[in-house]
């Protein structure tokens, strides 16, 4: 069973402790959301889980039972972890086709590239329409598709998504969440950091609440959504819209 297991993850920037002994796991075919205020350390966890940030001694990462702690980023990818960071990190000057081709650069993905390509293009038909377009000329929503599509080309077992809906219009946002549900159905696990907590909890199976770098709650998403504290902090006062008049 494909599973990412993060144990006792601590991250610090100089003197500042960003994350303190956080333990999380994601299994294949499930969506797990991390809730938390800005600066709570959500992005740091994702970046560390992709091997981009050094974790402090005592932290450990295990992928399918294999220890990948302290490995360089490319080995995290080879182990089956793909990150779509907040700034999307696409190759803006290259074409859609080249971006997807680069997604299949990891050795684990090379053989399965044609299958994965078919899968990505089925998920995002718009990418099939313009393979030769330079990504920088595409709209924000389309660029997000390229970013997620490229991550899926690396045949990941676990997809890490950092604020995928940031800057997307409500329409594109709905589209995005529908695609996430479809991605889950292909047996990929998703670890999601999302500002739009309401929608994220609606599609997630489980969730973690992160406060000042510590995991303070973890439960099934239905339980979290009905938790009064969570509702207040992340879902707005009445859970639907903010009314300050």
């Amino acid at each position: 069973m494909g599973m990412l297991e993060i144990r006792d993850l601590s991250i610090s920037y100089g003197q500042h402790r960003a994350v303190e002994k956080a333990s999380l796991r994601v299994a294949k075919g499930e969506i797990v959301v991390i809730l938390g205020a800005n600066g709570a350390g959500k992005s740091s966890i994702l970046r560390a889980a992709a091997g981009l940030l050094p974790a402090m001694p005592g932290s450990s990462f295990e992928m399918n039972g294999r220890d990948i702690t302290n490995c360089p980023p490319d080995e995290f990818v080879e182990a089956g972890i793909a990150l779509v960071p907040e700034d999307r990190a696409i190759f803006a000057e290259l074409t859609v086709q080249e971006n997807l081709k680069l997604g299949a650069y990891p050795k684990r993905a090379r053989k399965k590239a044609p299958d994965n390509l078919a899968r990505v293009l089925a998920l995002f038909p718009r990418l099939a329409e313009r393979p030769r377009q330079r990504v920088q000329t595409m709209s924000g929503g389309e660029q997000q598709m390229v970013a997620i599509g490229r991550a899926m080309m690396s045949a990941p077992a676990i997809l890490l998504l950092d604020e995928p809906s940031l800057g997307l219009s409500p329409l594109l946002c709905s589209e995005l969440f529908r695609s996430l549900a479809r991605i889950r159905s292909t047996e990929i696990g998703i670890l999601l950091v999302e500002q739009n907590a309401k929608r994220a909890l609606a599609i997630a199976d489980r969730g973690y609440v992160l406060e000042n770098g510590c995991v303070t709650a973890s439960d099934r998403s239905e339980v979290l959504s009905s938790d009064e504290r969570v509702r207040k902090a992340y879902l707005g006062s009445d859970g639907s819209s903010i009314n300050l008049r």
């Binding site: 981009l52 980023p73 990190a89 490229r150």
Partner: protein
């Protein structure tokens, strides 16, 4: 007409040396001010093999290229990687890189002065005249041109049609994203820098077949390569080749119509005009 052909012949070798710099700057993000010295080193290499061992320059290149690759790889690995690690931003790396390679250019000049002395060097190889459209051209120039062309085409094809070439371009465009698709960014940068240096050195070896050179002439070639890269647009391989031919043409025209002493001035003027009209280079599209 002979300006056209002469410029074209010169442009071929220019393209080669500028592509070397383009790889180093575009991929490894090092604006290498010692590029010209690497070129002169290549020229000295060819000279040394020819005068010492009667080795033909084309054969010498086979030895010079791997040698230059190793030397440049070592320069990147031991001298530039610390700067890459230290840099907080791309801008800082550019400044540090400029300063460091600037120091290296002096060291290289100093070394070449110590080994070969300050005189002018040249050797005669393939000095027969060949007639193109009833005008005589040195066979050495034409041979050097053909060799450069072969190298350039090989390089362009490799960059645009192979997996490793694509990986190189990926690092050039977005190093963070490249790391996320399992490309080993540090290694790829080192390789790009080394290949760039090797390409430049091979350009120097080819130039030495028909050009007189001395140990301190490198800065002129650095300037020319920089001008070509900027004219063509950073990261634009085809633009670089086109700009190289343009510069070769402009220089030949000024040399034969005005005065050979003003070629660099002409190159520089061209550079200024283009920068003012199109700040991203003639073929640049990056925003």
């Amino acid at each position: 007409m002979d300006i056209l052909i002469g410029g074209f012949l010169l442009g071929g070798t220019y393209a080669l040396m500028a592509l070397g710099l383009q790889l180093q700057y575009g991929v490894a993000r090092i604006m290498n001010l010692a590029n010209g010295e690497m070129l002169v080193a290549g020229a000295f290499g060819a000279f040394w093999f020819y005068s010492g061992f009667q080795m033909r320059p084309f054969l010498a290149i086979v030895l010079i290229v791997p040698l230059a690759f190793v030397v440049n790889w070592a320069i990147y690995h031991y001298l530039l990687t610390p700067l890459v690690r230290r840099a907080k931003s791309r801008g800082q790396l550019e400044v540090d890189g400029i300063l460091a390679t600037f120091g290296m250019s002096f060291i290289l000049v100093g070394l070449m002065l110590a080994v070969f002395g300050g005189e002018y060097f040249s050797y005669s190889y393939l000095e027969r005249a060949v007639f193109v459209l009833e005008q005589p051209y040195g066979l050495n120039r034409i041979a050097a041109f053909c060799a450069s062309l072969v190298f350039c085409i090989a390089l362009v094809v490799w960059l645009s049609h192979t997996r490793s070439g694509l990986a190189l371009r990926a690092v050039a465009v977005n190093p963070t994203a490249a790391g996320l698709v399992a490309i080993k960014v540090a290694r790829t940068s080192a390789i790009a820098f080394a290949i760039g240096g090797a390409v430049t050195a091979s350009g120097g070896a080819l130039l030495s077949m028909f050009l007189t050179f001395d140990a301190s002439i490198g800065v002129i070639f650095t300037l020319k390569a920089l001008i070509i890269v900027i004219l063509g647009g950073v990261g634009e391989i085809r633009g670089t080749v086109a700009a190289a031919f343009l510069l070769g043409l402009a220089e030949t025209a000024v040399a034969s119509l005005v005065d050979p002493g003003l070629t660099l001035a002409a190159a520089y003027l061209l550079f200024i005009v283009v920068l003012l009209v199109r700040p991203r280079g003639l073929f640049g599209s990056r925003s």
